[in-house]
Point group: C2
Chain length 336, copies 2
C-alpha cells in the first residue's frame, strides 16, 4: 500500500525532482547494532551541507519505505534542497539497510528482535560516526518515520533544533497494536500457506481500515470482489519482504518513548516540552497510526499541533499536502 | 460479538422481562421457500393480538441472532407488550429456523444461496399463512433485522403502518461488502485449517472495525495480545455455525432494495417516501453496517432520520438506548 502510494507521489512530483546525482544510494557500515550483525545502513543526501554544518535534516523512511521512494519529500515546499542538506535514511529492516531479507548471518526468521530505538541509534551513528556531524537542524518523518522522530527526540533531545513527527506516534495504543499484530498473523499464515487467500484477507483488512468514504471510492460496489482479487494478485509473496515487514511491525508494537521516562508519558511530554522544539502533525481519521497518542503528547508538552481532516485517513498527507507542508516548512525555518 | 452483546442486554433488562409463557419457541412449517427445502421458521410472540387484529409488530433478528436473545426488545420502552402483539422471528440461516446447520436435505455447503428477500418472504408467509394476519402495525429490526425491515418496505409497502430499520441498510456499499466478504474468507480458511490462528485474525479484524476509542477500552495496551488470544479461544469452531454465518453474510452482500425499482435507489426512496411511513435510525461511527446508504435513503424519501453518536459504533443502540428508544417508540405510537 505504502509503496503504491509513494510511487504515485514520485510520479506526481517528478517535475520537482532534485538532480539524480545528488540522490545516489549510499551505505554506511556500522559493524554491529546491538544484536544485529553486518549493520549496513542505506541513505541518500540531497542539497549541500553549509559552512556552519548546521543545515542537515534527517528523514527516516516509513514502514516498508526506502529512500528511493522519498524524492518527493526533498522536492516538496516542506524541505527545500536549496536550504537544507537532507539526509534520507533507509531504516533497519526495509530491505535496503540490514534486514531479514538481506542479512548474510541472520537471515529471515533468524533476524533479531528489532526496535524503533535500534533504528534511531543506527541513524545517530550514521550521522555522527559516518557523516561526522555534531548537530542536526531537524529530524522529521512520516508514519513509522514519525515514530522514529519521537524516539530521536526522547534519546537525543539536544542534537536537533526541531522535530516534526508526521502521522507518527510516541507509543501505540491497543487499537494500533492489534492492527499491526493482526498484519503479522496474516503474514505468518501466508508464509505457511503461500496462498492467494491470505493476501485476499489482507487486502480486505487494508480496505476496512480506511475511512469509509475513501474505501467506497476504491471500487464500485459491483466491483468490490474484483478489487480484492486484483489487489491480492498484485502482491506476490516474497519471504524476505514478509520477514522485513514482520520485524518492522514488531518494532512499532514495541515502540514507547515513555520508557526513557520511567514509563510515564505525561512526564516525557513535560520534560521534552521544556527541552526541545517540536511540531506534531496527525490526521483525524487515521486508522493506521491513530492520532490520539500524538495529540495528547503535543497538548501536554505545549507543542504546536496540526490536525488534518482531508477524508483520506493515513493518506491525508498526500491527499492535500498544502494543509501541512507550508506550516511545517515555516516551523522548520523559524528562528528561536 | 452480537451474541455476547445480546446476553448483556438480556441480563441488564431481566427485571422487565415479559412472562416466560408468552415467549416459548414456536415454529411454522412452510414447505419450501424458493430453493430451500424443509422451510421451518422459528418465532416467539409477546403480548396479545387485539380485537381489531391491528397491533402486531414483526421483529426479525440480526445476523446470527435468535429470538431467544430478543427478550430485551419486547421489554424496552420501544416495544411495550401491553400495547403490541410482538412477533419475534428467527431469520433463515440463524440455526433455529431452517439453516445449513440443521437442514436434513441441504446441509452445510449444500444449503442454497440465501437472500434477505428469502428471509422476508418466509416472514410474510409466517404472518399471513400461519398466523392468519392481513396487516401489521409495524416491522422493525436491528442490523440485519434493519436490512429485512427495508426489504419488507420494498416488497410489502402497504402491509404495515410503520417501518423502523435500526442500524440497517437498503444496500451495502463497497466498504460493507468487503467487511462481510472478508469475514467469509476467514471463515472458509477456518473450516479448512480448524486452527486458532484463523480465530485470532478474526478477533483482530473485529477489533479494528470498532471505533478507535472503544477498541482502546477493550484491553490495556499491555493486554492487547492476551485480549486477542482470549477472544480467539472463546469462539470454538462449529462447522454448522460457520456455514450459517456464511450464508447470512452472503445474503447481506447481495441485499439491494433498488432491484425492486429497476436498480434505481433514488426512485426507490421517492416511491416508498410516497407510499409508507418509516423512521430510520443509524449510528454515525458504525463500521459494521455503515450509515450513509440509510441516511441518503431517508433524506431522499423525506423520512425522519435519527443519527446516534455515542462512541460505540454499531453498538450505539445499546450504549445509550435512551437516545433512540423513546423517539422510535413515539413514532410507532403516533397516529397518521
Amino acid at each position: 500500500m505504502m509503496r503504491a502510494l509513494a510511487s504515485l507521489l514520485v510520479a506526481a512530483l517528478a517535475a520537482f525532482a532534485a538532480p539524480a546525482s545528488a540522490q545516489e544510494q549510499q551505505f554506511a557500515d556500522l559493524g554491529t547494532c546491538g544484536e544485529i550483525s553486518d549493520c549496513r545502513i542505506g541513505y541518500r543526501t540531497v542539497g549541500m551541507l553549509n559552512e556552519a554544518r548546521d543545515n542537515a535534516v534527517l528523514v527516516p523512511a516509513w514502514y516498508g519505505g526506502t529512500t528511493e521512494q522519498m524524492d518527493f519529500l526533498a522536492a516538496a515546499p516542506f524541505l527545500d534542497p536549496e536550504t537544507y542538506f537532507i539526509i534520507l535514511v533507509d531504516p533497519i529492516g526495509n530491505g535496503v539497510s540490514i534486514s531479514p531479507s538481506n542479512s548474510p548471518s541472520q537471515p529471515l526468521g533468524e533476524f533479531p528482535a528489532l526496535s524503533i530505538g535500534d533504528m534511531v541509534e543506527s541513524e545517530y551513528r550514521l550521522v555522527t560516526e559516518h557523516l561526522g556531524l555534531t548537530r542536526l537542524h531537524a529530524v522529521t518523518g512520516i508514519s513509522m518515520g514519525g515514530m522514529q522522530t519521537f524516539e530521536w527526540a526522547a534519546r537525543y533531545p539536544g542534537f536537533a533544533e526541531k522535530f516534526v513527527p508526521i502521522i507518527g506516534s510516541p507509543r501505540l495504543p491497543t487499537y494500533d497494536i492489534v492492527f499491526w499484530d493482526t498484519g503479522n498473523a496474516m503474514r505468518k499464515w501466508e508464509r505457511e500457506c503461500r496462498c492467494v487467500e491470505a493476501r485476499e484477507i489482507a487486502a480486505g483488512f487494508n480496505l476496512v481500515t480506511r475511512p469509509i468514504g475513501l474505501a467506497n471510492t476504491l471500487a464500485a460496489r459491483s466491483e468490490a470482489f474484483d478489487y480484492i482479487e486484483t489487489s491480492a494478485q498484485q502482491d506476490s509473496f516474497d519471504e524476505g519482504t514478509s520477514w522485513n515487514m514482520q520485524r518492522q511491525s514488531e518494532a512499532m508494537i514495541d515502540h514507547d518513548i515513555a520508557r526513557h521516562f520511567g514509563g510515564d508519558m505525561a512526564l516525557a511530554a513535560r520534560e521534552l516540552g521544556r527541552q526541545l522544539e517540536m511540531m506534531v502533525v496527525v490526521s483525524r481519521e487515521d486508522r493506521v497510526v491513530s492520532p490520539d497518542p500524538a495529540m495528547d503528547f503535543a497538548r501536554l508538552a505545549g507543542f504546536p499541533l496540526l490536525v488534518t481532516d482531508e477524508g483520506c485517513g493515513h493518506g491525508d498527507f498526500r491527499c492535500n499536502p498544502d494543509v501541512w507542508t507550508a506550516a511545517a516548512g515555516a516551523f522548520l525555518a523559524s528562528e528561536d
